[in-house]
Symmetry: C2
Subunit: 140 residues, 2 copies
Amino acid sequence: MSPTHTGVTAAPAALDPCGREEHPDCAIRDVLDRVGDKWSVLVVVELAGGPRRFRELQRAIDGISQRMLTLTVRRLERDGLVLRTVYPTVPAQVDYRLTETGASLTHLVRALADWSLTHRDAIAEARHRYDRAHPDHGIR
Amino acid sequence: MSPTHTGVTAAPAALDPCGREEHPDCAIRDVLDRVGDKWSVLVVVELAGGPRRFRELQRAIDGISQRMLTLTVRRLERDGLVLRTVYPTVPAQVDYRLTETGASLTHLVRALADWSLTHRDAIAEARHRYDRAHPDHGIR
DNA sequence: CTGTATCCGGAAAGATACTG
DNA sequence: CAGTATCTTTCCGGATACAG
């Protein structure tokens, strides 16, 4: 029961989000680095509704720049989450759709959204309380 | 069936990860901004194993700086995911533990980890294929 | 021990112009 | 339409010093 949990069963092990805890590269970090950036999830969410063309994505996502959309879909393509199809028409036409792997991500996204919806009010309250208690704290 | 899905039922709506699609502030983005940063998840993961003191967290997380740990736990505290308790001993002693809300996050984290474990090989392969096909592409 | 306060370098993001 | 190429700005994260 020592606070430094020297006993084998004293402290429950933390979650092991990694395949092998010996391994330094954490599995969770992998997902997060892939999905945790500003735009990837929104692209996946949009593509969950079916194939979309470049401009459709850009219009749907609101606020994303051409550059960021390009980078985002490229990364998703590279990771095998999104399939990019070019039709040799003129002007060029490209569509993006989720692969099997990418589609399996929508479950996670939905779980994320559910959690967020469930707790957003509690979180907003907590923030207000904190901000009132610590007026000039520069936390973002 | 037109590619621009002008029909009402032509294209399945994308996932709605937001409470009200009218609302601009997306729920998912909220979670992601909170949880998608470099360290928050690792802190939550560690705290899932029980309360930890500042130094314990820092030692456990490996690579995190004092500054980043402070910022991370402060944000988590502000959002009501982590409870910070100060014991007026000398030297000061502080412990952090998950709140109810914070604990509920561990489910998501586990889901994230599971997904990652399941697909990491496929993703690694996809990357190698992509990188072989597009040798000098500067994608990260 | 548990932080706060600065400073700084580099990566990410945004804006914009241009091309096939 | 679907990008690429640049340039600029912003901000995250590390290092360090110091304080309660």
